[in-house]
Symmetry: C2
Subunit: 191 residues, 2 copies
Amino acid sequence: MVRWQPGTRERLQEAALELFAHRGYEQTTATEIAQSVGLTERTFFRHFSDKREVLFQGQERLVEAFLDGVAAAPDGATPMELVSAALESAADFFPGERRDHARLRQSVIDQNPALQERERHKLSALATTVGDTFRARGVPEPAATLAAESAITVFGVSFTQWIRDGEDRSLADIERTVLAELRSLAAGEAA
Amino acid sequence: MVRWQPGTRERLQEAALELFAHRGYEQTTATEIAQSVGLTERTFFRHFSDKREVLFQGQERLVEAFLDGVAAAPDGATPMELVSAALESAADFFPGERRDHARLRQSVIDQNPALQERERHKLSALATTVGDTFRARGVPEPAATLAAESAITVFGVSFTQWIRDGEDRSLADIERTVLAELRSLAAGEAA
DNA sequence: TAGGTGATGACAGCCGCTGACATGAGGCGT
DNA sequence: ACGCCTCATGTCAGCGGCTGTCATCACCTA
């Protein structure tokens, strides 16, 4: 008999998503999530800094995908080329198999303002990090911040479209379309 | 003798800002804020849906400024012209006299992640609302959302610059500069 | 003068979250 | 084989955010 099972964090995350989806975020207590996998509330809060984090922890790899994309871009790339490279790399993070899981997760987030706040915060932190790498590559302000925020905006819009009912294009395809739209918008073209 | 003083909400907001700035957000309890103006915690939470809101309530007029700007734009304006009109109108909301107050308030927000989350959420809601009016004026998706998010991004970057130490340009001036930068970025110009 | 209105107070209680300390299985050195 | 150390977990007490419920009582209105 082992004293504790491995993968505690992941089991808690799975259980939490299921309970949130089934019963609602606010109607589910941290104690219930913990007990559903045989643990106590105290252990839950040792793994996650707060109740919302159980849905968000583990996105470091997405951040890395963005940064890797930027790092892979050739020297002398324009800011927009860096944005494009980051988006392409980020898209790899969401293959078709993840679409259903992403839909479920997003439906939970969309139903609770507190979770939406956290999501925005994470995206915002991502934009800040991407902006840092742009600056590290010599992009001056305010271009670096604008480019990074634009990258995240395009990502967000594209992701929302990617999980829409009936959508079957890849995230990368959608991103290219949305980015092109942003370009023509900024160029002042009429709607 | 009046039973209650008028302006309860405003007194609570002033007291809260002062306490937060002086002692820190987390170190200040809702009870303390309420008591500092002669009220109880219960009354505090009748005026504000949660502790953070005491710093954010009353921004409806900023939202209106954005929307009024859009409404004032001529028929047939391009999305970028709508963005420009919204930004110009929003800038009126922050005359030079408000700069110091904005600085104090922002310094409090910048020191607490929970407050940053709320701020992002408000900006995000603003982007959504602006996007709605763009759509109502016939801008299709995803251009409407992209334009609205870009407007908020430019506003955010400009506002941050506006309250920087030593900055003395008007918010409207800064916004024009930042918006121009975004245009040339999207046009693919090198940094 | 009676009754209605509406902001506030009082109180109990849930839940998120934390610090402090105890427990016990597995690994490791001797 | 023995004892020690590590470290994820459990237990417990407690604070603060937030809510529902009911009472209070100045002011207004008929």
